[in-house]
Each structure stands twice: as C-alpha cells, then as structure tokens.
C-alpha cells in the first residue's frame, strides 16, 4: 500500500493544481481567483516534494504564497475593485484563433513527446542522499551558476527601483540637508 502513496499524492495534487488554475480562469470574484492561485501553487509545491526538490518546494511556498499572492490580495483590497469590473472576458476573432492554434499545437505535439529519458524516481527512494537539499542546490548556485545568480541581484534591484519610481516617488527632493551638503558645510564656513 505504501508504494502507492506517491502515486495517490501525485494524482490528488496535480488535479488540485490544475483545478486551481481553471478556477482562476473562470471565476469572477478577484479574491477567489487569488485564493485559487494559492491552491494551485501550493499543490505544485507538493509535487516538487514528490520529485524530491525540497528546497525549491519551500521556496515556492514562501515566494508565491508568502509574497506574490499577498501582493495580489493587497492590490485587490487597496483598489477596492468590484466583481463586475473584474469579471469581464474579452473575445476577439484574432485572440480566439490564436488560442485555438496554441492549444491545437500543444495537443498535436503532446503525443510526439516520447521521452527517451528514464522515469523519475518517485519519492526519496531512488534519489541519492542530500538530493534537492539546500546544501546541494546552494553548491550549484554558487558554483556553476554564479554569474546568473549575480545577475539576479541586478534584476531584483532594478525591479525594486522600478516599483518605487512608479508607485511612490516624490518628484521634487525635499530641501533638507543631505549628508553630502552637511559635509560640504564644513568647507563653506
């Protein structure tokens, strides 16, 4: 029975994750949408655990449920948006054709994707000790992927600056003395 557990967990949580996504698509209430998104991303975190990606699973919970969706909910409440404003769908011929082509391509390609790669080890049984742990991931992150890692610091910094500039920047600096003015004052007097 216990060897069936990963299979059951997979089916339950993948179904939940897709169901959450579909709810985001069809639901009119923005708050329900946000909550469905949480369900979807948290179910994905469970799938990551099944694939023994422990660190990533935790990161997924913290970043998505803890940060991104909270931001969404914050904005929904801040702007006090009404259901009817958010519930609208738009259909245009161009978009419908686009969606049809995209979905048809995905379906057509799906049977072609015969993967000649061995199946993943379900659960921890097949994985070597420490696989997916913070230590192992960290070693790779600071070794082989050092430059991409450093680049993310620029990425996050620019996102932060961008957010502040757009949402909250005062256009004129206050006429208060800054540190440099204060230091220059010693030379003036």
């Amino acid at each position: 029975m216990s060897h069936l557990l990963p299979d059951i967990l997979f089916y339950v949580f993948s179904a939940l994750s897709v169901a959450g996504a579909v709810l985001v698509l069809v639901n009119r209430n923005p708050m329900t949408c946000a909550m469905s998104l949480v369900v979807s991303v948290l179910s994905l975190a469970i799938l990551y655990l099944l694939l023994s990606a422990h660190f990533l699973a935790v990161a997924q919970m913290i970043v998505y449920a803890g940060a991104i969706v909270v931001l969404f909910i914050f904005v929904i409440m801040l702007l006090n948006l009404t259901d009817e404003e958010l519930g609208r769908f738009r259909f245009s011929l161009f978009k419908t054709i686009g969606a049809f082509v995209a979905v048809a391509t995905l379906l057509a390609v799906a049977p072609d994707i015969r993967v000649s790669i061995p199946a993943p080890a379900a659960g921890d049984a097949g994985a070597p000790a420490g696989y997916g742990s913070t230590k192992a991931v960290g070693k790779l992150l600071f070794g082989e992927f050092l430059l991409p890692f450093e680049l993310t610091s620029i990425l996050i910094l620019s996102a932060m600056v961008a957010g502040v500039v757009l949402a909250k920047r005062e256009l004129q600096p206050k006429k208060t003395h800054s540190l440099v003015d204060w230091l220059l004052g010693f030379f003036r007097t």
Binding site: I154, A159, G163, V164, L166
Partner: protein
C-alpha cells in the same frame, strides 16, 4: 567552490561598468539629491563610453574568452553587439535630460534603470547558456517596463507601460517554457549541447525550439506577435521610445542570432526554422509597412516602420544562415548599426520640438518646418531619406548589402517583396518631408510655431552625430563592415 577570478571580472567589464555606474547613481541620489541629476547624466555617459571603447578595443584585438564556467562568452560577436547597444543607449541618454525636465520627471532613477537594462543587453548577446539568456532578457526588459511609464501622471504613458508589460511577460512565458523543454531534451542548458537533444528527444526539442522562437519573435515585434508594439511606442515618453526603437530592438537580435546559429544551426533544425522565418519575414515587412501608411502620428508610424525593419533584418539573418558566410552576417550587424543612427535622429527631432505639456508627434505638427527651422528640417529629411533607403545615405547601403546577400542565397522572391516594401515605405517617410517642405500653415489652417523647447547641448550633439554618421558611414562603410566581419566570423567559428 566560489571562484571569481580577475580574468572573469575583466572579461565581462563591458557589462560590469554599467552595473556599477547604475548602483553609483542610486547611491549618489540618496546622498545628494539636490545635485544628482546632471551628475548622473555624466556618470551614465562615462560608463557607456567606457563600455563602448572597451568593447571596440577588444573586438579589434580579437579577444575571445569564455567566462564563469561557460555561462557567457565574450567573443567578437558579443563585443560587437555590446558596442552597438552602448552606442544606441548613449544616443538615447543624450536625448533624455531636457525632455524629462520639461515633464518634471527628471529623476536619477531614469539613468540607473537604463544602465541596468543595458547591462542585461550586453550579457544577452554574450550568453552561452539558456538560463543566462533568460535572466539577461528579464534584466533588460523589467527596467524598460518602468521607463515606458516614467511620466507617471500621463495617461498614455501608463497605458503604454501596462500593454508593454503584458506583451513582454507573455513572451517571457513562452520563452521559459521553451527553455524548459529544450533543457529536458538536451539535458543541459548550454547552446552547444542543444544539438544532442534533437537526437535524444526530437519531439521535446522541436516543441521547445518553437516556443523559444515565439518568445524571441514577440521581443523583436514580428508579425503576428506585434499587437501592442506601436501602442507602447506612441505612449512612452519620446526619449524612452528612442531607447526602445534602437537598443531594445537591437538587443533581442543579439540573442536570437546566436541561438539560431549556435543552438539550432544543424541541418535538421535549420530545415524547420528557415521556411517559418521566411513566412514571418514576409508578413512582418508587409503588415508593418501597410499599417504605417495610414498613420498620422510620427511616433506610431515609426513603431510600425520598426516592425517593417525587423522584417528586413530577418531577411538578412536568413541569407546569412543559408550562405553560412560571415560576410552576410556582417551585413546584418552593419544594418543594425545604421538603423540605430537613423531612428535616434528621427526621434531626436520630435524631442527638439516637444512642448512642456504636449509632444509634437503628428505629421501635421511638422507642417512648414522648413521655412522656420531650415536646419532641423534638413536633418529630419536626412533621417527620413535614409530610412527610405535613398542611395548616398547609410540606410541605402544597409539595405543594399542585406538584399544582395539574400539574392546570392537564392531568396529572390523574398528580396522582390522586400524591395516592393521599401517602395511602399517611401510614401510614409516622404509624407513627413512633404509636410515640412511643401506645405505651410495655410494648408492646415493653423499657425505652426516652432520653438526649440526641447533643446539641449546633449540633444544637439546627438542630432549632428547621427546625421554625420548617416552621411559618412554610408560611403565609408568599409571599416564598419570589416569590424562586423570580424564579429560575425567569431560566431561562425563556434557554430556547428
């Protein structure tokens, strides 16, 4: 374990200058807000100048190093793109200060964000690995979303920002999904390893390739992925439009050409993407030009014209891949260089006459310009004629080289369509010249008054430099082409 060598840091110094300067501007603005604006302009120009000269120097010296465990490779190709992008960004920065001051949004953050974006662009053309490519693309895009919406109280600017974000993020979604499939097929993200993936798991590989290319085509604004590009061009503050039309336009080609030639450069994949790109190139040229015909707003018209130019560049890429010749790819790089000059100049004139509260954007607004401001009108005429592709100007030689290599590669119908498109494009470029030279206030019924409200020394330098470049580098294209050939041959050295 953690190992950054001095060679690594000096190798990516073109990108490093920019990132450090961006951070320095942020610090300066925090410590000394009253004086930081003009200083940050100078810091930005200095950093871009450093990167430009470093790149050019290393390009001529033939530096070719693979850095950070193979994540990036600074070869002639990367240095050439770095030089083009730094030049384009310098021109965009020169056009910004006065315009932003007129709008009351002259903030140091503008320059910091622009530098971060350029840093991403430089690394984008140098990336040898898919995730590096993705992160560089994000780093170059995210600041631009903000720059588009930089005039915060302006409705158009905000709307453009929203639309540009949706398109950009949508493209990212495709790109990342494509990268995931390619990684699964090849078992590695390195471009040179992708070839193995096509043999191991062809279904995955070709699905991934398609999605990745869709992502790229979104970024270069190719039809049918061009929905909101002209909206973003029209709504953004004009200096930002300048930046988008040249640097943000040229950079995705840097990554795309590398992925196509190094990652997907083997016969089986080429057989798939070449015919697809032929169709897309035809659509892009034709739709871009035909839609530009009916536009009355110069910025919007330039948006569609930039879509059309993407089509011409795709023709050049196709020719280079068919011929497998560095010369043909050099023509593409030369075209990008010329394209940067022409676009910067045309937007510069619009900035020159922009008012405090309103842009001078409509074709009608330029009516009678030649009588009142003959020099400005002459410059604008040079840019427009060069964009059309008239003989002694650089724009002609750019198109001429691309089309002649395309003919050599056997794409004769494609070249005929491209030339017909160029003829069509003459109509809307000449419409601007006709308005400036052959019509007066009596035709529009309202007095047009031209003040140099957007004038600044920076902008003047930019306008004269671009005009000189278009006149000079058209006839004296050989040194530029030689540099481009050097760059292109270093890419072909790695391609399978």
């Amino acid at each position: 374990m953690i190992s950054i060598t001095a060679a690594d840091l000096s190798g990516i110094s073109p990108a490093l200058h920019l990132a450090v300067a961006g951070i320095a501007i942020m610090l300066l603005d925090a410590l000394w807000p009253m004086r930081s604006k003009l200083l940050s302009v100078w810091i930005t120009l200095a950093a871009l100048g450093c990167s430009l000269t470093t790149s050019l120097h290393r390009l001529t010296a033939g530096v070719d190093v693979t850095l950070f465990n193979g994540a990036v490779r600074m070869d002639g190709y990367a240095h050439a793109f770095s030089a083009i992008i730094c030049l384009a960004s310098t021109l965009a920065v020169l056009s910004a200060p006065k315009y932003l001051r007129l709008r009351g949004v002259h903030l140091a953050e503008y320059y910091a964000l622009l530098l971060f974006s350029v840093c991403g662009m430089v690394l984008f053309a140098a990336a040898e690995e898919l995730i590096m490519l993705f992160l560089a693309l994000e780093t170059l895009s995210i600041p631009v979303y903000c720059l588009v919406g930089f005039t915060r109280t302006n409705v158009y600017s905000t709307e453009a920002s929203m639309k540009y974000f949706v398109i950009g993020a949508f493209a990212t979604g495709f790109l990342v999904y494509g990268i995931a499939l390619l990684y699964g097929a090849a078992g590695s993200g390195y471009l040179v390893d992708l070839r193995a993936g096509a043999a191991r798991a062809p279904g995955l590989f070709y699905a991934g390739m398609t999605l990745l290319l869709v992502g790229f085509l979104f970024k270069i604004g190719a039809v049918p992925f061009n929905m909101w590009t002209p909206d973003a061009y029209e709504g953004a503050p004009t200096p930002v439009t300048t930046f988008m039309a040249e640097a943000v336009k040229a950079a995705p080609f840097g990554g795309m050409i590398k992925v196509l030639f190094v990652g997907f450069g083997f016969d089986a994949a080429v057989g798939l993407w070449q015919p697809a790109l032929v169709v897309i190139a035809v659509l892009t040229m034709t739709v871009g030009n035909l839609t530009a015909l009916v536009q009355t707003d110069v910025k919007r018209m330039m948006g569609y014209s930039s879509i059309a130019h993407s089509g011409y560049i795709l023709v050049g890429i196709l020719a280079a891949s068919k011929l497998q010749s560095a010369d043909a790819l050099a023509a593409v790089l030369y075209y990008l260089f010329v394209y940067v000059l022409m676009n910067a100049g045309a937007f510069g004139i619009l900035i020159l006459f922009s008012h405090k509260d309103k842009d001078t954007n409509a074709v009608e607004d330029l009516t009678g310009l030649a009588r009142e401001r003959p020099w400005a009108a002459a410059l604008m005429a040079v840019y427009m004629l060069s964009l059309t592709g008239l003989p002694p100007l650089a724009g002609f030689f750019g198109k001429f080289y691309i089309f002649s290599y395309a003919v050599k590669a056997g794409y004769v119908p494609l070249v005929i369509i491209a030339i017909l498109n160029s003829v069509v494009s003459a109509y809307y470029y000449l419409k601007v010249i006709v308005a400036m030279y052959f019509r007066g206030p009596e035709d529009t019924g309202r007095a047009a008054v031209f003040h140099y409200e957007g004038y600044s020394v920076f902008l003047l330098a930019m306008l004269w430099f671009t005009a000189w470049g278009i006149l000079y580098y058209g006839i004296h294209s050989e040194p530029q082409l030689a540099l481009a050939r050097l760059a292109a041959s270093s890419l072909f050295a790695t391609a399978p």
